[in-house]
């Protein structure tokens, strides 16, 4: 008898619920926020709802620990708990908690009513967590939508500002378009292999000839996911959306949903052993790195600058996808973690300095920051140094693992493009540091005092950036172990044959 059918006849056991415990906890906290919001007067709601949101993420982290104790399949093979999914659960939840800490002061300054803001972050988180553990393409699609819809709304939260609405609308229209590509790909994949379960797809693709349809399906799914990770040429929305959205949310959008989308991409590419991916990834990676870095050179708005930089970083991560599965997966996981630490941190500083109405977001407003706000400038400086990829920061090892994975897979051409790009990238990050420390301010730009919650957010992100830069071993070893479990299932040998055909 078909095991799937057998499973379908049984009722989900308690352990199945444990395996999605973080998602359940997050949903409950999210709903609690929605229910409590109308009961509260506007003055207090900010603190209390934010507190609940933060408590939700902490509870979710604890339940991730509980979840990690019982690895395995759940809900008729739709969800799998393994080291890989635990890693991404912890990552996205941690990102959200730092973003909530950052938003605390930000929302008060912008005079935005908290309302469903924190609730939406938690709901989005449910989607992202599910993305990292789902095995079923249809479930992945639903999770993707849950996460996307929350972020569409969050992007438009600065209601009084026109560019924020533009950002939200643009993100929504293009985003729905992209997800429909993904769905189309899923449908075709079902046509090609007769299944929407990644494990079964993998078996089907590795036994016998690969149908033409599977290649088309793969390409369409790539379009959808490429949009989510902001890889060129599907990146056009990024700068406009990032410029308009509230700064803490940009920190969130550029890391958490991206990490989740990369998790899906890893499952699809390596576990399902996607056919014909090599050149697709090669070109996407080279394009993203080059376009992102070159366009960032001329930006004067710090949010746009970081938007282009995030495109470039997506490119670096894609380089690892072209490498052999084992090395590539762990490199991507490490990169996602260290990029999250430095980028969320950078946006925490940006959102604090933006002040009421996000008035101060151009490079010029940062002139002389080193003198006016030494702590903030120092923190931003370290995040930027990490983004450049200079030693003793996480960004250095992130790039290092990606490029050494690529070289060990004999991708010399792509590595050289990547290394040249990281040298180009140094210029625009450096420009920000130069402005902060070496230029005198032209007009008086007020800097608000540092609040304890922002201080905590900065301390966490700084500690993570430096931790990953000085003792990267622990995180990397964990990533390698989880990668090994993912890849073994992904028919390692078949993948090896596939790639060696195309070695550069």
């Amino acid at each position: 008898m078909n095991p799937a059918l057998q499973a379908a006849q049984s009722i989900p056991a308690a352990v199945d619920y444990v395996r999605i415990l973080p998602e359940i906890v997050l949903a409950i906290f999210g709903m609690a926020i929605m229910v409590l919001d109308p009961l509260m007067d506007e003055k207090n709601s900010q603190k209390i709802l934010g507190g609940i949101g933060l408590a939700g993420t902490v509870a979710a982290l604890l339940s991730t620990w509980a979840m990690a104790q019982s690895p395995g399949l759940a809900f008729y093979n739709m969800v799998r708990v393994d080291g890989f999914s635990v890693f991404f659960h912890v990552l996205v939840i941690a990102i959200a908690s730092v973003v909530i800490l950052t938003s605390y002061g930000y929302m008060a300054v912008q005079r935005i009513r908290a309302g469903e803001y924190y609730g939406l972050i938690l709901f989005g988180l449910v989607g992202m967590c599910l993305m990292s553990s789902a095995l079923e393409l249809v479930l992945i699609f639903i999770a993707l939508e849950i996460s996307s819809i929350s972020t569409y709304i969050l992007a438009g939260f600065r209601r009084r500002s026109a560019i924020s609405s533009e950002s939200s609308l643009k993100y929504f229209l293009l985003g729905s378009f992209a997800t429909s590509f993904f769905l189309y790909g899923v449908a075709l994949m079902f046509g090609a292999t007769g299944s929407t379960n990644i494990d079964e797809i993998s078996v089907a693709l590795n036994s016998g000839p690969i149908p033409m349809l599977a290649y088309v399906a793969m390409a369409l799914m790539f379009v959808g996911l490429g949009f989510k990770v902001a890889a060129a040429p599907f990146h056009v929305w990024t700068p406009d959306v990032y410029e308009g959205a509230p700064a803490p949310i940009v920190g969130f959008m550029s890391t958490a949903p991206k990490a989740a989308a990369f998790a899906v991409l890893l499952r699809v590419v390596f576990e399902a052993n996607a056919p014909g991916r090599f050149w697709l990834i090669w070109i996407l990676a080279a394009l993203s790195m080059t376009l992102g870095n070159v366009a960032a050179l001329v930006q004067t708005n710090i949010k746009r600058l970081l938007a282009y930089s995030s495109i470039a970083h997506a490119g670096y991560m894609l380089v690892a996808f072209a490498a052999t599965p084992q090395l590539g997966t762990s490199a991507v996981m490490f990169y996602a973690a260290s990029y999250a630490a430095m980028n969320v941190g950078a946006f925490a500083v940006v959102s604090h300095l933006a002040n009421a109405g996000e008035r101060y977001v151009t490079l010029e407003d940062y002139a002389g920051l080193g003198r006016r706000a030494p702590v903030l400038a120092g923190a931003l400086g370290i995040f930027l140094i990490s983004l450049i990829g200079i030693p003793i920061t996480g960004g250095f090892f992130a790039k290092f693992y990606v490029f050494s994975a690529a070289l060990q897979s004999n991708l010399v051409g792509l590595t050289i493009i990547g290394l040249i790009n990281s040298a180009i990238g140094a210029y625009y990050y450096l420009k920000v540091i130069v402005v902060m420390y070496m230029r005198e301010p032209r007009e008086e730009v007020p800097v608000l005092p540092l609040s304890p919650s922002l201080g905590l957010a900065l301390a966490i992100t700084l500690a993570a950036t430096l931790y990953l830069g000085v003792v990267p071993g622990n995180v990397l070893e964990f990533a390698q172990r989880s990668a090994a479990s993912l890849v073994q299932r992904g028919a390692t040998e078949a993948a090896g044959v596939q790639i060696s055909k195309h070695r550069l």
Partner: protein
């Protein structure tokens, strides 16, 4: 007694300055205390570094005071430190110059004093680390770490077009070292280790697959990074800008130590890892070095700016070092090492002297000086002594190194020796002419009549360099005794190579 200290000494010498820098962070902003503390830390480091030379085993050619501890398991990175007769002296040069830098910056740095000395001490750690690391990764880590403090020293505390100079310095080095990183990653991918000794053994025993085909590119990857740093003609254009705009202490360390990172790299990595390629490429590199010697000297002659004269003289002197290295003779390499040390001492002193006059007149223009020997007799005496040392007067330090280099170059190819020797004449021309215009004759500008002579503190900073210049000239064997075995070991594969050629 020294057993325990022998294992710890390199770690202590390397990290005490940075630890002092971190402690300075906690200091209250009382400038005097900060200066005194920085002086104590740098003197302590110098004192400890003397242990290296006191307990050295002169007969042993290999690395001494080794520490080898695993740092990161995957990739396989070790905290592997050690020095031989070559790097030991460069460590000492660094620790010798740093206290002098503190002294010379006592008065000239009045703003952001705390940050200045923190940067200076961190820079010292990074510089020492470059010379002591034996793990390629660790080396790269320190190599890149020198960039930021130096760029900030130039960009914040410099004068004139300081930001331009800082960014140019940063980008030149950053872009060039990317190629070195690519070569290192390739070696790691094939050998599975970053350890210098392991890689060297693997290459020498021919166990690196694909090495023969990749070697020319690997050689170039390392070479470009080092040639920019030296700087070898035509990569030298960042140097005059950086020097002219840098604060005095920055110039002293830049000329005294940073440039030697390049020549040290050529000696250790290009010659150490790729002897065949080195021999293969020696001809055009020697020609570039000769062009550097002559061109640097000619350009120095026509500079109207004191610091630019010294900066171009560095291009010329470092040409000698490269010429000596690529002569592959015992005398040439010994001489190259000696020129590195002598140049560090005397050019460091020249920059201090230039800084002293700048503190009084706020200009480096030679036209604004003239007849300074009358109001400042002590200053003129020191200046003449150092100029003579730099010109290569026998019994002072410049002579020994240049003589050895030229005799080595003559053995390699008589024309190298002949053209190189003209460099000695040129250097006499531009330095003595510069000296004449600054010090001799009548005082041409009335305001110069009242210039105060050297203060006790300034004399304190200059005396050690003058003494070192004399001792190195009179008793060069103290230095060469230690250098010689290390050079001999470096040259061992070359004599084998030569033997092969003769055998055929």
């Amino acid at each position: 007694m020294s057993g325990g200290l022998d294992n710890l000494i390199l770690t202590l010498v390397t990290f005490i300055p940075a630890a002092g820098g971190v402690l300075l962070l906690l200091f209250p902003r009382r400038d005097r205390d900060i200066r005194v503390f920085a002086l104590i830390v740098s003197l302590l480091t110098f004192g400890l570094s003397l242990h290296l030379i006191a307990h050295v085993h002169r007969a042993l050619p290999g690395f001494q005071y080794e520490v080898d501890k695993p740092w990161i398991s995957a990739p396989n990175i070790h905290y592997h430190m050690g020095v031989d007769g070559i790097s030991m002296w460069l460590v000492l040069l660094t620790t010798f110059l740093t206290p002098l830098c503190v002294l010379i910056s006592w008065k000239s740095i009045q703003e952001r004093v705390k940050e200045f000395f923190i940067l200076l001490l961190i820079l010292e750690t990074a510089l020492i680390g470059v010379f002591t690391s034996l793990d390629l990764f660790l080396f790269y880590f320190f190599w890149e770490s020198t960039l930021i403090p130096m760029a900030l020293l130039i960009g914040i505390y410099g004068h004139g077009r300081k930001v331009y100079a800082a960014v140019k310095f940063f980008l030149y080095t950053m872009v060039a070292s990317v190629f070195m990183l690519a070569a290192m990653l390739w070696l790691y991918a094939k050998v599975g280790s970053f350890d210098f000794v392991t890689i060297q053994n693997a290459i020498r025993s021919g166990q690196v697959p694909g090495f023969a085909a990749a070697a020319p590119w690997l050689f170039l990857g390392f070479f470009v990074a080092f040639a920019v740093k030296v700087p070898l003609f035509p990569f030298h254009t960042w140097l005059p800008d950086a020097h002219v705009e840098a604060p005095t202490a920055g110039s002293v360390l830049l000329a005294g130590v940073l440039l030697k990172m390049g020549t040290y790299g050529l000696l250790r990595f290009n010659l150490g890892l790729f002897p065949e390629q080195s021999r293969h490429n020696a001809a055009w590199i020697a020609v570039l070095a000769l062009i550097g010697i002559v061109y640097g000297a000619l350009v120095a002659m026509v500079q109207p700016n004191l610091k630019k004269v010294i900066a171009y003289s560095s291009v010329s002197h470092l040409g000698f070092v490269v010429l000596g290295i690529f002569s592959f003779t015992q005398a040439g390499l010994n001489g190259a090492m000696f020129v590195m040390l002598a140049h560090g001492v005397s050019t460091g002193a020249l920059f201090m002297l230039a800084g002293i006059i700048y503190e009084r007149k706020h200009t480096y223009e030679i036209a604004d000086m003239g007849g300074l020997a009358t109001p400042m007799p002590n200053y003129a005496t020191f200046f003449s002594f150092i100029v003579l040392a730099s010109v290569g007067l026998p019994l002072l330090n410049g002579f020994v190194g240049e003589f050895l280099v030229l005799s080595g170059a003559f053995q390699a190819n008589p024309w190298y020796g002949v053209i190189g020797a003209t460099g000695v004449i040129w250097s006499a021309c531009y330095l003595l002419w510069m000296y004449q215009r600054v010090f001799f004759g009548k005082v041409t500008h009335a305001e110069n009549n009242t210039l105060p002579d050297l203060s006790a503190r300034e004399q304190l900073a200059l005396w050690p360099t003058a003494i070192a210049a004399l001792v190195m000239g009179v008793a060069p064997l103290l230095w060469l005794n230690v250098i010689d075995p290390a050079v001999h070991a470096t040259l061992a594969p070359f004599t084998q190579l030569a033997g092969k050629v003769v055998g055929q």
